[in-house]
C-alpha cells in the first residue's frame, strides 16, 4: 500500500514536472518578444520625452525636492534600507543633465530599433530606474510596468527578429557569441521563459490593481469614475454632462466603475483559459481606452495594452513581418 502511494506521488510529481517544463521551457518563437520590444522601446522613449518637460523642476538635484529631502521623506515614510540609487542625485540644472537625458532617449530608441538590443535595453532600464529613484514619491503609474517589461525583454532574445541586430549579427555563425550577447540569437527556450515571466507578472499586476480598488467605498458603490470625472483640475476631458442623463447617466457611471474593477480582478484568471483569453484581450482595449479618458493616463494605458501582446501567439504577428533571410531552425511545433 505504501508502495502504491509512493508510485502515485511519483506520478504526480512527474506529471507536475512535465507541465512545469512545458509551461516554462517549451521552445517558443521569439517574434512576440521582438514585437513587444518595439512597443516597449517606443513607449519608454515617449516616457523619457515626457519627463523632459519637468526635467529641471523635478529631476535636477537642485529641483523642487532635493535628494537630501527625498531621503529624509523616505526615512519618515518607509522602513528598512531603501536601495534607491540614481545618477541624477548629483546633477543640478545644467547642460550635463540635458545630455544625460538625451542619452536616455537615444538608448530607448536603440532598444526599439533593436540596435545592440540587450545592452540598449539594460541602459534604458538603468535610465528609467534613475528617474524613479531620484524622486520615488511622485513616480507615475507607467514606471513599474515599464520596469518589468524592459527587465524581461533584456532576458529574452528580443533582438532576434525585426531588429538591426538581426541584420548585423543574426545570419553569421562566426558572430554567434556576439549575437547571444546583444540578444539577437534565436534562443527559443529563453524566449518562452521571458514571455511567461511577462505573462505571470502582468496577471499578478492586474490582480493588485483590482485589489487596491477594493479598499475604497467608491469602487463598491459605483461612483469612482464619477469622482474622477468631477475633478476640475486634473480631469483630461469634462464629461460631467453625463449628469444631465439622470438615472441612465448614473447607471452608466456605475457600469463603467464596476466594469473596470471586475475586468482587473478577472484578468488574472480568465487570461489563462482558452475561451477567456481572447475575450479579456478584446475587452482590455475598451477598458483601457475608457480609463485613459477618465484619468488621462495615456502612456500607462498604452503600456498596459502593449503588454497584453505577450499573450498573443506568434501567428498573429507573422502576416505583418517579412520572413527572415536565414531559414528557421525551430521545430514546427515550437514555431506554432
Amino acid at each position: 500500500m505504501a508502495t502504491g502511494a509512493k508510485t502515485d506521488f511519483t506520478e504526480l510529481a512527474e506529471d507536475f514536472g512535465q507541465k512545469w517544463n512545458r509551461f516554462w521551457f517549451a521552445p517558443a518563437n521569439p517574434l512576440p518578444v521582438c514585437v513587444l520590444r518595439i512597443f516597449v522601446g517606443m513607449l519608454a522613449a515617449a516616457h523619457f520625452l515626457e519627463l523632459g518637460q519637468g526635467l529641471n523642476v523635478w529631476y535636477a538635484s537642485d529641483g523642487v525636492v532635493p535628494p537630501a529631502a527625498v531621503r529624509r521623506l523616505l526615512d519618515l515614510t518607509s522602513s528598512g534600507v531603501e536601495y534607491r540609487y540614481s545618477y541624477l542625485d548629483g546633477l543640478p540644472v545644467s547642460s550635463a543633465l540635458v545630455v544625460i537625458h538625451v542619452l536616455a532617449i537615444l538608448a530607448s530608441l536603440a532598444f526599439a530599433l533593436g540596435l545592440l538590443t540587450r545592452i540598449s535595453g539594460l541602459l534604458t532600464l538603468a535610465a528609467l530606474l534613475a528617474y524613479i529613484h531620484r524622486l520615488p514619491q511622485i513616480a507615475g503609474h507607467v514606471e513599474p510596468v515599464l520596469s518589468f517589461l524592459i527587465f524581461y525583454l533584456c532576458i529574452a532574445p528580443s533582438g532576434a527578429r525585426l531588429s538591426l541586430d538581426w541584420r548585423l549579427f543574426g545570419s553569421s555563425k562566426s558572430k554567434a557569441t556576439l549575437a547571444w550577447i546583444v540578444g539577437s540569437s534565436d534562443a527559443p527556450e529563453v524566449a518562452n521563459v521571458a514571455l511567461r515571466l511577462t505573462q505571470v507578472h502582468l496577471a499578478m499586476f492586474y490582480a493588485m490593481m483590482g485589489l487596491t480598488k477594493l479598499y475604497g467605498d467608491a469602487w463598491w458603490e459605483g461612483s469612482a469614475v464619477w469622482i474622477l470625472l468631477a475633478q476640475t483640475q486634473s480631469r483630461p476631458v469634462d464629461l460631467t454632462g453625463i449628469r444631465r442623463w439622470g438615472q441612465i447617466g448614473e447607471y452608466l457611471i456605475n457600469f463603467w466603475t464596476h466594469g473596470i474593477v471586475y475586468f482587473e480582478l478577472a484578468f488574472g484568471i480568465l487570461i489563462w483559459t482558452r475561451i477567456g483569453r481572447p475575450i479579456v484581450l478584446w475587452l482590455s482595449v475598451l477598458i483601457w481606452v475608457s480609463v485613459i479618458i477618465a484619468t488621462g493616463h495615456v502612456l500607462f494605458g498604452l503600456t498596459m495594452l502593449a503588454a497584453n501582446a505577450a499573450f498573443l501567439p506568434a501567428a498573429v504577428f507573422e502576416p505583418f513581418v517579412r520572413r527572415p533571410r536565414v531559414p528557421e531552425t525551430l521545430p514546427a511545433a515550437a514555431a506554432a
Binding site: F16, G17, Q18, W20, N21, W24, F25, H47, E50, L51, Q53, G54, W58, G63, V64, V65, A69, R72, L73, L76, T77, S79, G80, V81, E82, Y83, R84, L125, L128, L129, P136, Q137, I138, H141, V142, P144, S147, F148, V193, V200, M204, M208, T212, K213, Y215, G216, A218, W219, S223, A224, W226, I227, A230, Q231, T232, Q233, S234, E250, T295, L299
Partner: protein
C-alpha cells in the same frame, strides 16, 4: 533540486541533456524565488501601505534589495486612482513669495505667486507629478494621519526651491484642495454653488506654512495653526457646512 522539475525524458541522459536538466532546475529555482518576491510585494501594495500585516512588512523590507531596486514594488503609486475620500480630490500647492526673509509677511508686499502644478496638459504625467506631491503633503496634514515631520520637509523643499528660483527670502506654502461635486446636485450643501464646481467655496486650505531663509542661509519652516486647532468664534448663527456634501 525539486523532483517535479527534473528533466522529463526517461531515456538515459547524455551529457548535454544532463546539463540542460541542471540548467532548467537552476532556472526553475530562480523563477520561483523571483515570482515569490514579486507576488509578496504586489500583494502587500495597499493605499498608503498602512494595511500591511507585520509579516508582509517584514518580507517587503527583506526583498527590498531586489524589488525596490528594480521598482517591482510600486509602493507610492495609487493604482486605485480614487477611493472616494476627500484626500483623493484635486490638491495643489500655492507658493506666495515675499522679498525679505527678516520681515514678517504682513509687513511686505507680495512679490509673486507660483502654483504647482502650473499649466501643462492633463493627458501628460508632468502635471500629475505636482498633484501627487501636493497629495503627499495633504495626506500628512489631515488630522487622522497628521505628521508634521513630513509636511514640514515638503514645505521646506518646495518653499526653498521657489525662493531659490525667484531670489526672494520668504514664502508662504499653501496646500489647497478642491472638493468635487457629487453626481446628484441636490445633495450639495448650502453655500456651495451647484452650477460652478470651480467656485472658491469648494477650495479649502489643507496646510499652510511660513518658509524663510535665516541669516545662516538655512531654510526654516513654521506651520500655521490649522482651523481645527483654533478656538471657534462665538457667533449666534449656525456654522456653515465645510464640505459640499452631507456624506463627505
Amino acid at each position: 533540486m525539486i523532483a517535479g522539475m527534473q528533466p522529463t525524458s526517461s531515456k538515459p541522459a547524455g551529457s548535454s541533456e544532463s546539463n540542460q536538466g541542471l540548467l532548467r532546475s537552476i532556472a526553475s529555482l530562480l523563477i520561483c524565488i523571483h515570482l515569490f518576491c514579486v507576488a509578496v510585494v504586489l500583494a502587500a501594495n495597499s493605499p498608503g501601505n498602512f494595511r500591511r500585516s507585520p509579516l508582509q512588512g517584514r518580507l517587503v523590507s527583506i526583498f527590498a534589495a531586489f524589488t525596490r531596486l528594480l521598482h517591482f514594488d510600486p509602493e507610492f503609486t495609487p493604482y486605485y486612482y480614487t477611493l472616494g475620500r476627500p484626500l483623493d480630490d484635486d490638491t495643489w500647492l500655492v507658493i506666495d513669495l515675499y522679498p525679505s526673509g527678516e520681515q514678517p509677511v504682513a509687513q511686505q508686499q507680495l512679490a509673486s505667486s507660483i502654483q504647482l502644478p502650473d499649466g501643462g496638459s492633463n493627458w501628460l504625467e508632468n502635471r500629475r507629478r505636482g498633484f501627487q506631491l501636493a497629495k503627499l503633503l495633504a495626506a500628512s496634514a489631515d488630522p487622522p494621519s497628521e505628521n508634521d515631520d513630513i509636511t514640514s520637509e515638503i514645505a521646506r523643499a518646495v518653499g526653498g526651491w521657489a525662493m531659490r528660483q525667484s531670489g526672494n527670502g520668504r514664502a508662504v506654502v499653501r496646500c489647497m484642495r478642491r472638493y468635487s461635486q457629487p453626481f446628484d446636485l441636490a445633495a450639495v450643501n448650502a453655500g456651495f454653488p451647484a452650477d460652478r464646481p470651480t467656485d472658491p467655496a469648494y477650495d479649502t486650505t489643507v496646510y499652510e506654512a511660513d518658509v524663510w531663509t535665516d541669516e545662516d542661509k538655512q531654510v526654516q519652516v513654521q506651520k500655521r495653526a490649522s482651523r481645527a486647532e483654533v478656538a471657534p468664534r462665538q457667533t449666534g448663527g449656525a456654522a456653515p457646512a465645510t464640505t459640499p456634501t452631507v456624506n463627505k
